[in-house]
């Protein structure tokens, strides 16, 4: 095990927090959808991938300034998430849970292959944004501006989301629907609209994550959503699926853990992705409800 100076430790920690913030943004989408539908949205990682391509084409093909392209990509991704919900999940809402799960896997494959057909399988380079990718030095830590921007964006969005859910009428409807669709409907809540809104928000957050991901890891391809998707699902489980703050904590644990593992035990670099899955197994064995999760009683 290599010896590590404080400076180096801080460097890795910053990188870990930054990566963890990206995981957190994507994990929120999993946890919100699970909270409201008890469904693991396997297409979420691919929706994330689509957001990267939307941004790419916005800049590369349509010549938009990066900020405009990013905003358009976030909107398009939110719409895509809502379309997937309406097309692949809503018609199956009264069917057994496994049907809708299979439909989610199908939606995932469909999006991936659609991306291959439409965008091509060859990797592309995400547009550079000089302003954010400039390297700077704080004390002895060298980093891209982006590395600091990512956690700030994540925490700001988290605060906004928590405010929306806990302090607004739509948020109250979401919480009510997540416990009891039927009674929420009796109160006049538009359950379908509330569920669609949840997909829209989760997808928009994934899009924000995807854009920052693209700037951090600029090589993009149609299957790039698979591994981040799985990892963020794991992050959501670690945090306690259904709990938004938990998903963010899970994301941070995963991001920091992964970077630290590689930093401290460089010989395990090849097992970087395995870390998440081992953590998942450990959590499922010892605390299946996750860090912030509550015991969920099956609905009768």
């Amino acid at each position: 095990m290599g010896h590590m100076t404080l400076d180096l430790f801080l460097q890795h920690l910053t990188n870990g927090i930054s990566l963890g913030s990206l995981y957190a943004l994507i994990a929120i989408g999993y946890t919100m959808v699970y909270g409201i539908l008890r469904l693991i949205n396997f297409a979420h990682g691919d929706i994330f991938m689509m957001a990267v391509y939307f941004s790419f084409f916005g800049v590369a093909t349509f010549g938009m300034p990066w900020y405009a392209a990013f905003i358009v990509a976030i909107i398009l991704t939110a719409l895509l998430g809502m379309v997937v919900e309406r097309a692949a999940y809503k018609p199956l809402r009264e069917s057994p849970k496994v049907n809708i799960l299979v439909s989610a896997i199908g939606a995932s494959f469909l999006l991936q292959n659609l991306a291959v057909v439409i965008f091509g399988g060859r990797p592309k380079a995400f547009p550079t944004v000089k302003l954010l990718q400039e390297v700077m030095t704080i004390g002895s830590v060298t980093l891209q501006r982006l590395t600091l921007v990512i956690p700030v964006v994540t925490l700001t969005l988290l605060a906004g989301l928590l405010f929306l859910i806990n302090n607004t009428k739509s948020g109250m409807a979401m919480r009510a629907v997540s416990k009891d669709h039927e009674t929420a409907g009796l109160m006049g809540v538009d359950v379908n609209r509330t569920i669609t809104l949840t997909f829209g928000i989760g997808s928009a957050l994934a899009a924000v994550g995807a854009i920052m991901w693209g700037m951090k890891f600029p090589q993009i391809n149609p299957t790039m959503g698979v591994i981040p998707g799985l990892k963020c699902f794991i992050a959501a489980v670690i945090g306690g699926i259904g709990n938004i703050t938990g998903a963010v904590i899970g994301g941070f644990i995963l991001g920091v853990g992964e970077i630290m593992l590689v930093a401290m035990l460089p010989s395990l670099t090849g097992y970087r992705d395995a870390f998440a899955f081992i953590l998942l197994i450990v959590i499922l064995l010892f605390k299946p409800t996750g860090i912030m999760g509550e015991k969920i009683s099956e609905k009768v």
């Binding site: 109250m172 009796l186 538009d190």
Partner: protein
């Protein structure tokens, strides 16, 4: 106000309702009593669109209710207090009450109604910041009724509000139902607790395995020999 005509509902091959007709007149308390599985809840579920009838009609002030979506019931003035209370356990007491007024836009009147509900159920006011899941069964039932009242219903329907509650709480609850009715609300009450329901009912129907077998005023049925034997027992009468 509400008219059900020859309503048939089946779940798969089982006919839960075999063609029932009943009417709720404005300003009255109407009760539907019957044993477990008689079809009482199915009747309510059909009214609010949660069960789909095979045939028959349900009209509300002349409007065909079978064409309405569940979420529009509250807007047309029909609110159900569902069986088993079904308060939102993850919402505070205050939020549960607010979601009852989800479709309303008149902030001032909502505030007045909140005070009105608090005056009917003072305990809810003390616990307004508590999560509803932490309330006792009786308090949850009060909350479920309060939540329904917050929608300002014209027709308030209650599915077995006395279920699982201590006798003292049932008495308290029925006093409040009477009080709400006195203030002008039309009520359709479904109960297994026949004695309590008949005592406050203007009109009562007896439902037996999907058929309405008796109809009368609450007083008439209270003294009816068959009803006494089947639903009241000798001891309750004392």
């Amino acid at each position: 106000m509400l008219k059900i005509n020859d309503l048939v509902v089946s779940y798969g091959k089982v006919e839960a309702l075999k063609g029932i007709s009943l009417e709720v007149e404005e300003g009255k308390i109407v009760t539907l009593i019957g044993a477990n599985g008689a079809g009482k809840s199915t009747t309510l579920k059909s009214i609010v669109g949660l069960a789909k009838p095979q045939s028959g009609t349900i009209t509300y002030n002349g409007k065909n209710l079978l064409l309405e979506d569940t979420k529009n019931m509250v807007r047309s003035g029909i609110t159900l207090v569902p069986e088993g209370r079904r308060v939102f356990p993850n919402l505070t007491v205050l939020e549960n009450l607010k979601i009852g007024a989800y479709c309303r836009k008149d902030a001032k009147a909502i505030k007045d109604d909140l005070e009105w509900v608090y005056s009917l159920f003072p305990k809810l006011k003390d616990r307004s910041w508590q999560q509803a899941g932490t309330l006792s069964g009786g308090e949850q039932q009060m909350l479920a009724v309060g939540r329904a009242l917050m929608s300002r219903p014209k027709l308030l329907m209650m599915d077995e509000p006395s279920l699982g509650l201590a006798p003292l709480i049932v008495k308290e609850l029925f006093n409040i139902i009477k009080e709400i009715h006195k203030q002008g609300m039309t009520i359709l009450l479904i109960e297994q607790n026949a004695f309590a329901a008949l005592k406050i009912a203007d009109i009562a129907y007896v439902l037996e395995t999907g058929n309405i077998t008796l109809k009368g005023t609450g007083q008439e049925l209270l003294t009816n020999e068959e009803v006494k034997k089947a639903y009241l027992g000798e001891s309750t009468h004392a």
